[in-house]
Symmetry: C2
Subunit: 427 residues, 2 copies
């Protein structure tokens, strides 16, 4: 079968939308918070269940499954020329606390269904096709986003860091991985992929923004992924009794944190670009009692931009604010740590073209766009040409229970993914 | 024995400082956080252990012990005229998270030692003497400060409220009390004391402020207790993905909370009086993930003043700020609840006089002062003439591990308490 032959049978690309929806619903039931919210944390019991579920589906689709030392899962459909670098696709199934059931999941279950679509249409791959479920795209448990893909991309810094990484309950990364069955987790360097291991990586994902829905466009083709950075800040003050310590004697670490949170917003708004965003998603006070002046506070700040320099200048200003707040309030800036400060990634022109032709051939409207959220694709771009396919989601909602995508939009995304993978496999 | 005879033997008032220090140290080991911090939460295992410890000491001192339905503990030394209203003293042993070992404890262990002092000096009480350990002075678990003394003082609102009160883990007050062995907790009205049940109540406590230490004064005699109020506030915004939602589309509940925290400080400073204080000790974000815009926030605000009207005007301004922040940021003010708003209490003139003469006779320096922290004495004042004796504490520190009082200052406080109780018992 060569491409033109295959393309003649486009009408045979049929998605089993009903089964796919059932799988999305089933997977969402592996959750540590009540429906409709989803909470699925790395190496938790629910994460292990979702891993088993994905491996079973991969096997049912005839893929040969392997897992690496940290639990990145690979399902391979071997092509007719297995010596060529394979084409890969995939996403994640972990979910931050009280989030939704589509983020990541659509790119894993959708990828397996894309394989099914191609199999049903009698497509035969030339390059092998890999479906990947990445370990811990979300930073929830160990504070490290895209842990799995970052390590796949060969980050030696991360490998070193993971040897001493612990979670909020002081459980080590190694111990947690072993609890989930990954007994060889300490062999971190076995996870690294060489550059060129894949000829392409394509990730299907909900947009997590409102543009496609507002413009009634079916498909987004990502040209670049914004540059994310995250920062941890700790302030330490004197604390004391909320009744007895008079206002002039206070060094309130909680008010320092409140000021810094507002300063983050101010610096982001001052950047002059709509593309700069900044968020304080975590703000914790110690000891956390109504009648106790906060003696410590902890913030985690996320800031992103499509322009790396502009984002870095926001980070500099946040640091200056942290310093001046600390001085003015007489609290100690006991930690200011840039946890990661990643550059943006550009999509590969050939993959963009493949996704464009796929959309055109399937008669779906599409637009080229920027991804403001980061994805495993950001790190896969370090070792492979990369591209992403977006589908519309309700009001752009994500990371909350209201996150929603219609099964028709998902099915369209799966079709475009299937056809794009087919093209890339034959190229 | 009449007063003049007893007063001649003042030199016989000797405190067993070594044993008292040992007891303070032992009690601090019943803690859910590592030393030197103390965490002892109502009806927890450690609270139950501390209750047993106190009852054993009361029995060892020859007191007859009773507990009421919610676990207020009374140890009685029956006087020669048991039909007269007794004199009472006492404080609490619960401790907020990561606090110290003196707050409350000095007024319970010190009261038992004051009884020992009087017994060793061959004093015979006319009015009976009651040592009370109050249940839950701290609001930690159920958000209600002075729960035990408030109920003793006959608060029917509190009794009603307790029927449906739950803690942060949704454990009901009744269930928690039963777990600690108080099976009759539902009979709340049996806890009420009638007005006149006691002829006097005197509480010994560390100052929790720096004045006595700075002025090198041994004893503080409290003339009034400041008026405390506490408020709970919830904001609800839209939440969403920290990368994908652009700044103009945000309704960040966390930034609303940060603004309100700073507004509390501003309104308190604007009151024009050094006596006005306000604190945001609790500020929580939901879902609490670095890459998620806070969709909900929760604040708990404590504000106090010796002037009730001035404090209430601060509360009004905080409410206005909450409303205007909510409007400006497009977040919902889903809760604004004044949990309690208590009036100040004045000490009884005769008790003040008794404590003054006691200090003079013991040749200890003393000063009359205001209590900015509230105490069980604030509520005992509703059913009994009330007074308080303060002792110096290191730098005024309280509600943190660095809280400290020298055993010499504690022993002086115990002596003044003993002599004051003796005077009140004979009057
Ligand atoms: Mn996500
Ligand atoms: Mn995702
Ligand atoms: Mn206290
Ligand atoms: Mn206290």
């Amino acid at each position: 079968i060569h491409e033109s032959h295959f393309l003649n049978s486009l009408s045979s690309l049929s998605v089993d939308a009903e089964t796919l929806q059932k799988q999305i619903d089933e997977l969402s039931s592996f959750s540590d918070s009540p429906a409709p919210s989803v909470t699925r944390i790395l190496y938790s019991e629910k994460d292990v269940l979702s891993r088993r579920y994905i491996k079973n589906l991969m096997e049912a689709s005839g893929l040969s499954v392997r897992e690496d030392a940290i639990g990145n899962i690979f399902g391979r459909w071997t092509g007719s020329e297995p010596e060529l670098a394979p084409v890969s696709t995939g996403s994640h199934t972990d979910a931050i606390p009280y989030s939704g059931k589509y983020d990541g999941v659509v790119g894993v279950l959708g990828a397996i269904e894309a394989i099914n679509v191609l199999k049903r249409s009698s497509f035969k791959p030339k390059r092998s096709l890999d479906v990947i479920m990445f370990t811990s795209e979300e930073p929830t448990r160990f504070g490290i986003g895209c842990l799995g893909s970052r390590l796949l991309a060969g980050s030696k810094e991360l490998a070193q860091q993971l040897e001493k990484t612990v979670d909020g309950q002081n459980v080590s990364f190694f111990y947690a991985a072993k609890s989930a069955g990954y007994m060889n987790v300490e062999k971190l360097s076995t996870v690294f992929l060489e550059k060129g291991s894949y000829s392409a990586f394509v990730e299907l994902h909900i947009e997590q923004g409102p543009i496609l829905e507002e413009e009634a466009t079916s498909i987004g083709i990502v040209t670049a992924i914004a540059a994310p950075a995250s920062i941890k800040v700790d302030f330490e003050g004197t604390g004391g009794h909320a009744g007895a310590v008079l206002m002039p004697k206070r060094n309130d670490a909680g008010l320092a944190a409140a000021e810094l949170a507002l300063a983050v917003e101010k610096h982001v708004l001052e950047s002059g670009s709509i593309d700069t965003v900044g968020t304080v998603g975590i703000l914790e006070l110690h000891p956390g009692a109504i009648n106790s002046i906060p003696s410590k506070s902890h913030l985690e700040i996320d800031t992103r931009d499509i322009d790396e320099e502009r984002r870095n200048s926001v980070i500099d200003k946040i640091y200056e604010s942290a310093l001046s707040i600390s001085k003015r309030r007489g609290v100690k800036l006991s930690e200011y740590k840039i946890v990661n400060q990643d550059p943006p990634a550009l999509s590969d022109e050939l993959i963009i073209k493949a996704a464009e032709s796929a959309s055109q051939e399937l008669e779906l409207t599409y637009k080229k766009m920027i991804s403001r959220a980061y994805h495993d694709a950001l790190f896969m771009a370090r070792v492979s040409p990369m591209g992403m396919i977006f589908i519309p989601c309700y009001k752009g909602y994500s990371h909350k229970p209201e996150e929603f995508a219609t099964i028709d939009h998902i099915a369209d995304g799966v079709k475009v993914l299937a056809l794009t993978l087919a093209k890339l496999s034959l190229s």
